[in-house]
Symmetry: C2
Subunit: 344 residues, 2 copies
Amino acid sequence: MAQKIARIQDVAREAGVSTATVSRALSNPELLTEATRQTVFAAIRSTGYRVNRAARNLRTQQAGAILVLVPNLGNPFFSQILAGISAAFGSRDYSVLIADTKDHTTGGKHVVDYFLDAQIDGMICLDGAISPQELQLFEDNGVSGKIVFACEWAHDVALPSVRSDNVRGAQLAVRHLYDLGHRKIAHITGPQENVLTHARREGMMAERARLELPAREEWIIRGDFSLESGRRAGEQILAMNDRPTAVFCCSDQVAFGLMSTLTANGLRVPEDISVVGFDDIELSEFYVPALTTVRQDRRALGARAVSLLLDCIDASHTEQAATTEPVIVDVNLVVRASAAAPNW
Amino acid sequence: MAQKIARIQDVAREAGVSTATVSRALSNPELLTEATRQTVFAAIRSTGYRVNRAARNLRTQQAGAILVLVPNLGNPFFSQILAGISAAFGSRDYSVLIADTKDHTTGGKHVVDYFLDAQIDGMICLDGAISPQELQLFEDNGVSGKIVFACEWAHDVALPSVRSDNVRGAQLAVRHLYDLGHRKIAHITGPQENVLTHARREGMMAERARLELPAREEWIIRGDFSLESGRRAGEQILAMNDRPTAVFCCSDQVAFGLMSTLTANGLRVPEDISVVGFDDIELSEFYVPALTTVRQDRRALGARAVSLLLDCIDASHTEQAATTEPVIVDVNLVVRASAAAPNW
DNA sequence: GTGCTATATGTAATCGATTACATTTCATCA
DNA sequence: TGATGAAATGTAATCGATTACATATAGCAC
């Protein structure tokens, strides 16, 4: 059975020093004599002592945890970002909590409650669709300085963020299709209010305009990042009189949904229609056809988000505000098989 | 800026009662007069009081959090299970921590340390590949009663677990292929030491034997659940003289990797070779061809894992051991397009 | 040796809740 | 009315660490 866990008292007794000395050995070892330090560490080892997090947290007024707010855990893109964040914390003394905003079963618990309950020191928000009320709530409770956005960000809100170069990603995609010979290029967007939707759509439309390509209203199809929305978009394209020869999708998932529908209806990708995605999730390489897509550097996004958040937490102790200039992570185009020259 | 957060003292003063009464209003309201209860709640509202988790945890010797140990966060199957677990906790007063066992950057922090540091009250382990040493460590520290396995489980270890009916899943898959007319059925396994590998392979081989189908050594191909291993298996199959007409894969990811390779080499699925997966992740419906697969009920698995764990935690307070009889969740076959009659 | 400073260590208050035990209140009944 | 017990509330110890402040010790200059 569980032997009683040693407390700092026990270590102090064992080492013949005070609890203060033990505590110092752990957090400020340079204050101690080499000799005492040794004695204390020996006692720590022999007692199997481990600091009690709850006690430390109570005393230091920290939580030792951060929260990652994910729009949809089921989406591989997010889970891989999460893995990046997790990895980026590495040995840092923080636990990673996760909450899914899509998940409304949280029994009326607001995200801000995590802060108020002293459960977390900071938050990485992967969801740009935070309501103004919610943000006001953060502001009112003085925790907005402990929030950073990653991937998505909240419109009009001056909080630190890390994001991919979405505009450039869209340009790369359109440019690639153009270079292959495509002139009639459609786009499936994300959800209407989403910031990524906006950035990628604008990037796409700007590049299309720059290349003086034809533009039709119906070639901008509204989606929402999901597989299902890709399928719906596919049905719309099938029904068009003047079909595009290539489609740039706002996410890989959408591209999969699209290709699945097109193929099921006898159109071949890329022979009859080319498709480019966005994200480069692991599966994209293994789809049939392998998906040409804009790669987001998930590891970099995660790592930068973490360091940004740690900066914020540090800054909030010294009452300074961290920089709110967004950190932009470069993207690159991964050319595979789903986009090819059009067969006129 | 952050107004000072109210403490229980402040509420007590405001309500004109003692801190004990406030505490009771929160945790044992039935002990109080209707009148005092009202007064206290009014004071709680007016002060905006929220209980400090660290303080409560310290006093009650709980952590208020559980850990989910995931073999690979990047894998959609696991992230969707995680979503199920997350949802199942609902309003329960637990935070969900996650750790990725694949992620060796955790700076030497052992999983058992989460328990020893009083950071978690329990753990749901999705990884059956826990070493005997690790398990011994749990045992030695008296925390093995606070662990449940979900999906995977540790061989020879009597801990509570929830799992799909893997054997039946394999039977369903083989039977389906048989009914379509296939006689030469291959199998791509998971990693060698994995319990799921074992269950699914044995289920597959038993059914194949029962149906008196031919069996060849090389038709049992070793994989590891990953896309990449599916690709490698595909290459092996392509190189065979006596090719199977159908392949049952131990995971959807493997099936994708396999189909991707087969297709890239001119074989058509299902016309030339049929493929069946296992898991039914969201993407399976949208692959080309849509994947016929064995569906695991992720929500049920998550929900049962959570209730099992809560039982364990309760039981560990009363020194009883929870039941270790595995909970089996039913599976079903989802018939789509990747398996069809063979074309002799 | 005295006085002074710097360094090392100890004492005890503190973080914010919970709860055992003590006390008060109140209804009931002889 | 006073005794009795149950119900409601209060007092203060407690969980296990950290750290401000106090004290002890050592080193050095005079």
